[in-house]
Symmetry: C2
Subunit: 236 residues, 2 copies
């Protein structure tokens, strides 16, 4: 089956968690908005297409089915492409971890938009600085400390059991995004994130991921996305 992925063309954003799974799996897919423009998503968002109604991108078309919410898409793709554990209980654990990634991603977004997504960053810069300080001081260490503990409980290398999964891909993306946005904060906790660092390196070396990262399909991080680098938000 050839999938159709719908996500904003100019950013990695939440779509990137899905792209990484599709790329790692070597799945056939069209990145629709990159090929046709963002307007191609509108009939779905406006309810003019049958199936599930997405609140926002990303959403995936798989045959006739429309699936939205990144964690939900990954829970669909995982078992179909060898990116999820076998048992239902372990699949639930994967979903739990992925939803926790969703949570920190939303918090990362709000560091540059603490007041409103409808205002420009420049209109909420003072508040952004406060929120980013709190995020770097308390939230990054709390979330990454948690994921280190998750790796510890497995085999030390994988989020779930002894097998590579979509959660590992998402942890790679989370670390990469935080590195881009908050290099100083991430450097400061480097010694407390050794297992996540090893995981990040391992994922980057997977052949399909390495090829993807080197390709033009990988949109560079930028200041329209979720992980944005504003030096004033990463002062120590």
């Amino acid at each position: 089956m050839r999938y159709k992925l719908y996500y904003w063309r100019g950013i990695q954003g939440r779509g990137e968690f899905v792209r990484l799974a599709l790329e790692d799996a070597g799945a056939d897919y069209d990145d629709v908005a990159r090929e046709q423009g963002d307007h191609a998503m509108m009939p779905f968002l406006q309810g003019k297409q049958p199936g599930a109604l997405p609140f926002a991108p990303p959403f995936l078309r798989a045959g006739k089915e429309v699936i939205a919410q990144a964690a939900n898409i990954l829970a669909y793709l995982g078992p179909r492409h060898g990116l999820a554990p076998a048992s239902e209980a372990a699949q639930r654990y994967a979903m739990q971890l992925q939803q926790t990634v969703t949570d920190i991603v939303a918090e990362a977004h709000d560091t540059h938009h603490p007041i409103s997504g409808d205002l420009y960053y420049e209109q909420q810069r003072g508040e952004a600085r406060q929120r980013a300080n709190a995020f770097c001081a308390a939230r990054i260490p709390k979330f990454l400390g948690y994921f280190e503990q998750v790796l510890d409980r497995g085999d030390g290398h994988h989020a779930i059991g002894r097998r590579h999964s979509y959660v590992d891909l998402s942890l790679f993306q989370l670390m990469s995004g935080l590195d881009y946005a908050f290099p100083n904060a991430m450097k400061a906790i480097r010694r407390r994130t050794t297992k996540l660092r090893a995981l990040q390196d391992r994922v980057a070396e997977r052949p399909n991921i390495a090829a993807y990262l080197a390709s033009e399909r990988r949109i560079p991080f930028n200041e329209d996305g979720i992980f944005r680098h504003y030096p004033e938000l990463d002062e120590r």
Copy 2:
């Protein structure tokens, strides 16, 4: 099976979405922290118990399994208690909608804590006012407009198809929480939320839910929870 639900004893919070499903289903459960104190959750959060490691409450113990993240717990309970649709595709749609409820709940929380959850509300009151204004003006209408459209695409009365599900229970809770926190904002969009209002009334009249809401098990909304009523955040 007798479930054990773990959630902070003094608030509805994210645990309430799970409580409503357990109550509606007439399931046997212990609300552990309410019986033993919040400290009863700590061995799980500190990684001293086997199974999935929760990042935060709520989590549910079902036999030997530990399941965390409210949406994930509901996806587990739904099919076991007649609170989820039959097909896998429809279950995925339910999960997508529940994750969208999760998203607005996080935004509702941040109206009173836009800078940091580690500071008191009183330390971020000015920023809270700005964020709450944006939330009431743009985000509540956007999310509730979306859920109205979801109801429209079904039979007009249920989120998924023609059957009651855990999503309906969660939409009831979302509306109730927003009513408590932002009565003026909710009144202003009353005419645009008629299907959600009808759903809210229908859910409140379900016998097990009516009994629960009238019982002492239903913790009143309060200013320690996610939905807080600060009049200054709901001015028109």
